[in-house]
Amino acid sequence: MTPLLQITNLRASIDDREILKGIDLTVNPGEVHAIMGPNGSGKSTLASVLAGREDYTVTGGSVLFQGKELLELSPEERSREGLFLAFQYPVEIPGVSTANFVKTAVNEVRKHRGEEPLEPAAFLALMRERMALVEMDPSFLQRSLNEGFSGGEKKRNEIFQMAMLDPVVAVLDETDSGLDIDALRIVASGVNALRRPNNATVVITHYQRLLDHIVPDFVHVLWNGRIVRSGDKSLALELEQRGYDWLKQEASVEA
């Protein structure tokens, strides 16, 4: 079985400052991985490097996506191949309706797969169906992308787009932060509804509470640019009780 994502000794820096200091992570089909860790440990950086953000320089290591070299692809090619990033801070695009944006994105992916653009009616029906997954009102389709959306609405819109693009690997960067308990439940059930044996999800989060809803197969702790511990979901509970300091101390001793 080819892993969907295989990260080996990945190193990345920004402005000559090394942020990722050798990450190893293997994600197989059907799995859910949680990445936890204190602020500033490099979680968003990892997500950005995977998605191909140019600000970061990859200084070493490799990433295989379904067996292919991911780092050689442009950000849009990575997306079309099936890598999705739900942004910690989704951007607003004035004047571009959510419907138009999503249609453009979906048609790019379809073109990449050699498929015809969807008929407008079929597309609208699909959008409505997928919006229902995250209990988003169809009126959002006509509104400018993310403009004037509340924090929770923006996060739901990310998951709606994920549902439309149907990725192979989805990386959710703190999709839970800023959500109240109801919104959290809605977002999580949307993500769960998209789980299949042939895709995988990487959930970046600070909090155990999201993992009550999206139950991970593996939990990793990222600190200071390295994965300092991996375990099953009980690790998340342990972190909840003990915090991160004990891990930091252990990691410092080992280093």
Binding site: A51, G52, P94, G95, V96, T104, E108
Partner: protein, 480 residues
């Protein structure tokens, strides 16, 4: 007369950039004097009063100076180095496109706007201006049934001289500015439109302008009159072949709306902006003005400006009739070394007059994009209202956006609102689009069209689609 010398070798030469079509041309030698104006007027069989009007404008022009206040920078224009007359040798009278010179059709094909296609475009009458003389007019018969006059202004001078004489120069006086004086002296051709009382023009009237003769300044003159209770929508669109010399274009457009009449004037302008170093682009110094002469009348300007090396253009409305409405919707794109100084003037005279200004500037490369707008409320303009929205969008760090709003309000009952924003297409926005499978070029097109949507929505449907593509093309390569 040596002015009649035909410089055939100039016409038939090939150029380093772009192409020129081989339609037989008639050119005057370079330079401007009384004889040149007499020649032009005689060529067109104009009535004596028209010649005198031109000569008076020329005298005025001689005393005037080129304006220096626009925020643009270019080498001085040598007005004696311009050819003031160029026309296709034959001026055929044609009833169908099949009779058009195949050379002309080929030129349009190269430009990607085949006439054949235009003919099929349902509901669009096309008055093609190639160089200075109108070559083809379509849909005329249908319009004639309604009493609508839509023809080259040179033809109107022959068939309806009294109408031309009554209105020409009434909105833009010959001595209004340096370029309007020049245009009045030497204007070559342009469109004339008259919509009779109570008639709603059933089709979009459209004119494609082309600049197609080397070293030939273009001096178009357009006059549109909407009589009481009438309506007309007019679209002007331009493209030009690439060339390696600067070309001056100084058009004058005058609109007159009588009681309860409405004129909608839309422009999609994509003249050659010059190459990446700014070489060879068109200088576009235009005077466009309309008057809401009657009560409850309305004039609306919509422009999508993507071309020209230098643009200097302020489509304006004089709101004279009570309850009249003036609108200005503009998207101005500058890329590479383009410079644009554009905006509008809304002059409130009548009571309860309203005006609305929506200006969207988009700057990329090392271009400079200025909005310059005047809202003037005269003491008699009781209850005047204006709303202005001026937005600037920057692509990259090397371009400039400037806003110069002028307010002169002399009636305390006036309500004048001005809003302005400046935004940037940032890395974050582009990366977000990339992450959704949308490449940077497509992302810029998407973002820019979203930004300009309020203006594009004002265009007739089929032209809105064209304009959207044009915006994307104009900004190709501006990021990354």
């Amino acid at each position: 007369m040596d002015q009649q010398t035909v410089l055939d070798e100039v016409v038939s030469s090939e150029y380093k950039y772009g192409f020129t079509s081989n339609i037989e041309q008639e050119l005057l030698p370079k330079g401007l004097n009384h004889d040149v104006i007499r020649f032009i007027s005689a060529k067109k069989n104009e009535p004596e009063w028209m010649l005198e009007w031109r000569l008076k404008a020329y005298e005025q022009w001689l005393t005037m100076k080129e304006p220096t206040w626009p925020n643009v920078d270019y080498p001085p224009v040598d007005f004696q180095d311009i050819i003031y007359w160029a026309a296709p040798k034959k001026k055929p009278e044609l009833n169908s496109l099949d009779e058009v010179d195949p050379e002309i059709l080929a030129t349009f094909e190269k430009l990607g706007i085949p006439l054949e296609e235009q003919k099929v475009l349902a509901g669009v009458a096309v008055d093609v201006v190639l160089d200075s003389v109108s070559v083809k007019t379509t849909f005329q018969e249908k319009l004639a049934e309604l009493g609508i006059i839509f023809c080259p202004i040179s033809e109107a001078l022959e068939t309806h001289p009294e109408l031309v004489r009554k209105y020409i120069g009434t909105v833009v006086p010959t001595n209004d500015n340096f370029y309007s004086a020049l245009n009045s002296a030497v204007f070559s051709d342009g469109s004339f439109v008259y919509i009779p009382k109570g008639v709603r023009c059933p089709i979009e009237l459209s004119t494609y302008f082309r600049i197609n003769a080397r070293n030939t300044g273009q001096f178009e003159r357009t006059l549109i009159i909407a009589d009481e209770g009438s309506y007309v929508s007019y679209l002007e669109g331009c493209t030009a072949p690439q060339r390696d010399e600067n070309q001056l274009h100084a058009a004058v457009v005058e609109l007159i709306a009588h009681d309860r009449a409405e004129i909608k004037y839309s422009t999609v302008q994509n003249w050659f902006p010059g190459d990446k170093d700014g070489k060879g682009g068109i200088y576009n110094f235009v005077t466009k003005r309309g008057i809401c002469a009657g009560v409850d009348s309305k004039i609306s300007w919509t422009q999508v400006e993507t071309g020209s090396a230098i643009t200097w253009k302020y489509p304006s409305v004089i709101l004279k009739g009570d309850n009249s409405i003036g609108e200005f919707y503009s998207v101005a794109v500058t890329n590479n070394k383009q410079q644009a100084d554009t905006g509008t003037k809304m002059i409130h005279i009548g009571r309860n007059t309203r005006s609305r200004i929506v200006s969207k500037g988009i700057s990329a490369g090392v271009s400079q994009n200025s909005y310059r707008g005047l809202v003037k409320v005269l003491p008699v303009a009781q209850g005047a209202r204006n709303f202005s929205q001026c937005d600037s969008l920057l692509i990259g760090d090397a371009c400039g956006a400037h806003t110069f709003p002028y307010l002169e309000v002399a009636n305390s009952s006036a309500i004048v609102e001005h809003e302005a924003t400046t935004s940037k297409i940032g890395e974050d926005m582009l990366f977000y689009c990339n992450q959704r499978g949308i490449d940077t070029e497509a992302a810029v097109a998407l973002i820019v069209n979203g930004y300009a949507r309020e203006v594009l929505n004002q265009l007739p449907m089929e032209f809105a689609v064209e304009a959207q593509k044009l915006l994307a093309i104009s900004l190709e390569g501006s990021v990354g």
